[in-house]
Assembly symmetry: D4
Homo-oligomer: 164 residues x 8
């Protein structure tokens, strides 16, 4: 099974302000007891550090990378260009265009370098964590069990949560 | 290692006309010698068959589902609602809105049920195949090797393909 | 005539927070003394319950279903796939894209499974109630009378409401 | 039961060129043996004729109106303003904006006067016919039977139409 | 010259809440001493009153009509369909789509019935007043003089309003 | 009455290729026997000529200016900044964005300098001619008569043009 | 080297309220000790002053012009039409459309008259200053040094700014 | 003065098919006798080569970089992240979204790393060449003269190109 002290998932984002959205990803992973590490790395201000981080992620034991970015949101694509690991992208809402620019900059990747794109903002960040769990569940039975329980619990909550 | 005769990936789409785009996914998987099965299943015309297909996919040995859909593209989300397997969504270009409707209908999933969304159309379908390979590479060393070779080959092609 | 204690209209939505918009539908129906029932049912978290609810609606005496949803708003389409009753869809405003995603996910249904789509948000929810009344008026003279009076009253209010 | 020689549904559109899309509605109704009449009426060039047509529709025995329009697509809303019958709107693709203008002009009706909006173009026109049938099925058992058979047939077609 | 007590311009809007935007039009006209009248008339709730108002406007001495509307903003087009007078349309910002729906519903009029469309919201309403003045200036020298003075004054204000 | 040999309307556009759309305006004016002149003038390549043309238009006897432009369509606004005459803008469809850029660049003028914006493309150009006629009809009874006859003829055509 | 008292860059905008965004440009230039001058000049209210300012900018010693504008944002294009100097455009967020109109009005310039367009709002204004610095760095070694130091500092800040 | 055999401008693009658009940039530069070099370099397939190319551009004597890209168009931003030279971005029209995705992915760069964005497609590519010439004209009098002649010639062409 996974070990929370050994990170399997790397979560990166361009600036600390992105944590407001991206912490939803780490919270989900922590609920699944999947170890993760968070890094502030900018595709534009620290391109070499991003390339180094992404290209060494596999040998450092990471299995999945989650990258959140807004505006001309290059971070997920740049990460994907530098690793063979599955990369999940989260479009962060931008000030003027509400994240439509972030979404298109992340999802419209060319043939050859996929980025698995989630919804804009916090729901997307939470789902990035869940999707990472679904991938890891293929390999780690403990994650599979937790995922199954998580889904059942949410189903029950929805069923119970009726209007009196 | 994977065995092409035993499908690990299920590719589903709403109608045969979607094959024009979605065959790019099966071609990539076949290049990686990853077995896949193709099904025509409509979230709207055959909802019970979709639910049955998705909810039984895991015990039938599938590890990943790829779903392509256009317009009010509900298929990937409906599949994801009925399985714990990772689901990859491909927005198929629609007649009037060029796939912007398909994209938003697939990517804007609510917290709890992620769909890993690819680019609109054939590049997205090809990338769905590649992303499935990247997930399987975490578990199957043979896929990992093929993925590494594939990426290196494409890199070299890009470097060689200069203007004389 | 209709009997308010026997529901003719089922109103469903994905979460309790959608009530803020969708109560406009039940208020209109109550004004017309048309019985309705409200259910929290999620196309994604409780797909089997949605299918069960929609496919049994007719024999339970419901004549119309109203479904509100936001983002990748699959609920109205999933309901329509599981019933022959007329389904009215209400796009609920989403956080990032103001309901444009909800609108396209609901209105762009493929040939074969229509969803009668209303405007985004509260005006659309109120109109869903009114449209249900217009349908029932074809069959129930009492509703027809109330609809006629309602329209005349609103016309008079508009004519009276002049700038002094 | 319905009688194909006595029209229950009025289909109107602004110009003959709209027939290319709107004939999909009359074809569906004819498949259901529901009588319909087609009229060319423009909200802008013949406003009095539209008002007269819509306001007299009920007493002439029509039960549902379907209106198709493109661009600043006012016809469905103007019709709805002049009748208590259910009005179904079909956004016709426009030359420059692919029907996005038509869609918004039809669906964003204010509180009080609903228009049941279908998808852009031919699929929407076909669904307008189907939705009219779903409404009439509440009252005419023969339509209910045909609708049930139609849906079952399409389900079977989808199930049969597999990739060999 | 014009006489402020005899209205030359009719300003109509669907509800009193539109006054927040549309009063910018009457303020400009009042600054030009051009008489105007304001009416609350809804294309959807009071279609006959709109038709009556628009078709009698010319013989009642009005020379220009300004109509403001939001959402499926049919009022300007419906007015234009019922008069030969120049009609100026003002898209009022809508709750969900910020007036993009209002703009397209007003500007995309079909060949034959023009509506002179202004910018979304208050600047557009003020410009509707100014554009009415520009039209009337062709006929009334007093308006021409005021328009010339207005433009010169605004030019000077812009030149004076420098950063110290 | 107007004299076709003395132009009352100036039609300008940025390049000869715009004639494909803009000739619809001159054709309408010619049908109304309203004299017009056509000029190729670019807001970007010949700014001084545009300013000179617009600022001298009034004293040269022109009463209305029609300007067509595509993309960053500045011509109508630049013309309006240099004249007190009413300026009508026609958004010409652009290669990539279908005229949405042209539309927004023309219609979203700031408070103080209105441009009366028509629909995108040929219908908009034809309507620019008609709107010019509607303005001139306020002053020239002969135009008023022609406009009345034109509208009546189109109404009759629409009424006659029924499906057999 | 540059001399802060002799302006090399002219920053112009249509109204004082634009300073809220555009001051980010002057602050960056001041950080680089590049002299700049700010002017309020409106393409619509003071067209002659804009033409005069732009066409004389070169001989007055300016080397780069930065223009910010919102809505039908003609200022950058009009400036570019009147000078051979490089013109940088900043789309200012508009009230209704969040700057999408400003962006398209600035960036979609026709072949022949380029405007170097930055992101919408403050980040774009800051980048206009930085891009001016990058141009001047080609000629002024002191700017080159400052630019190099600025980039290194920001890189280090990003690297240091980790989550504890 | 510049020497056409020594490149001052580097033009890069992700694939050979982009040449259809990007050759407009090199043609303009060649008309100005400004040396340029063309490279096929992909931000996604050859990230290390892009970083190497961009970061060594300055010492190899290049003064400006032009990058064209479509879809999730990361190339211009990635280049800008690796050089202090001015970077000009050209959005290449994409299959599904006509270049709106390319435009937003290029122009919405974050504070700190500007990309000077041109119009979508060929006009933008030609303008990228012209803007590079405008920058170089600040330093190379020969370019300044050619730019002045080019603009005068185009102005005369526009003035001569009248409708007979």
């Amino acid at each position: 099974m996974t070990n929370a002290s050994k990170p399997l998932v790397g979560i990166i984002m361009g600036s600390k302000t992105d944590l407001e959205n991206m912490s939803a990803a780490s919270e989900v992973l922590s609920e699944f007891e999947i170890g993760c590490e968070l890094r502030i790395l900018s595709a534009h201000r620290t391109p070499a550090a991003v390339a180094e981080y992404a290209s060494s992620a596999h040998q450092r034991g990471l299995e999945i990378l989650i990258a959140g970015a807004g505006g001309a949101a290059h971070l997920p694509g740049v990460v994907a260009a530098n690793t063979l690991l599955p990369v999940i992208g989260v479009p962060i809402p931008s000030t003027s265009l509400n994240g439509m620019d972030s979404l298109l900059s992340i999802v419209q990747m060319p043939r050859g370098i996929p980025v698995a794109t989630m919804a804009i903002g916090k729901p997307g960040a939470a789902n990035a964590g869940l999707f990472a769990a679904a991938i890891l569940a293929l390999k780690y039975p403990a994650v599979q069990e937790k995922l199954s329980a998580f889904r059942a619990k949410r189903r029950q909550e929805a069923l119970d949560n009726q209007i009196p």
